[in-house]
Symmetry: C2
Subunit: 200 residues, 2 copies
Amino acid sequence: MQSLRLAGKPVNNENRRAAILDAAVVLFGERGYYGTSLQTIAAAVGMTKAGVLHHVGSKEGLLEIVLDEVYDNHNDEMRERYLAKERPLMAQMWRDVVAMNAERPEQVHMFSTLDAESIDPDHPAHQYFLERDRDTIDLMLDVPWDVPEGVNVEQLLNAGFSMMDGIQLRWLRNPESDLNELWAQCEDQLMPLPMWDGYR
Amino acid sequence: MQSLRLAGKPVNNENRRAAILDAAVVLFGERGYYGTSLQTIAAAVGMTKAGVLHHVGSKEGLLEIVLDEVYDNHNDEMRERYLAKERPLMAQMWRDVVAMNAERPEQVHMFSTLDAESIDPDHPAHQYFLERDRDTIDLMLDVPWDVPEGVNVEQLLNAGFSMMDGIQLRWLRNPESDLNELWAQCEDQLMPLPMWDGYR
């Protein structure tokens, strides 16, 4: 990975903590939680392991921070934005999520790696991902989506977020691909015309 | 993981090799390729590291075997089966794939973990997964699928296999869930009625 040292920035607590989180995102993505030591993270930011622990408490604490604080910090805002809309359309919400993720490949890489690694019930993020699968749907079910008659909103959300997981893996693996374009093709399958005419 | 020693079986080369592959599937799934040493695999089957190397050549060789020989050994047969059908329906093909995967959770776990871990361009399975994304679609495009007018078969295949990746993660994480049931809900979204009436 590229160096994440604090080149050119004032060395203070805030910058140090931010550099640790940046390094953890990249390293957890490339090597997983199991494959990344606090020592490697410390070396990447030019600190000691004790210095890293001072900022994040523990390796498990660091994992919680990069998931909760870094990766998932947009979820509530997204829900609020769609709750406020007069006519919330699911296709628009997914395009918003995809556009956001297209701008943060390293975070999506981390998410994808931890998502699979945490299938293991002993993984410290197992419960987090288990609850997240459910919470993401519940959060979005609060929004009165305008969908064609007969559509099962809960099942559509589950199917759509599953599709997004898979297409993001294909995007990350192929640096020439464009996530927004890939998703546009997915949208055509998930919300096909003419059935979804006027609803996307 | 549970012991994978050769309890009760005659100790010969074939059984030894099979035990190594079984252990590698479980350990690559739980800890990833990076997180699993040949020493751990050797210990799991009650052999020495040198003994394991005698059977599989190298750690990279073992990775290739569990992907090519163990995980992907059904692909050609599936394609042949659908090429031979008078009226091949994509919904049936996906149900067949899902029914097969529902019976092999440890292999799907391994696949999911390596799928994400190999986003890293330095990962030894990076090229394998990159080509597999493309090859799976190409293989299936040979089949003259009977689909409703206007459906883009290539995009549908890409969207459907992406959805399957995501729903399999949810299934593996939640031992109470049933992959066939989860997929039935996905199918209703991916091939909605009445558009797909008579085509699934």
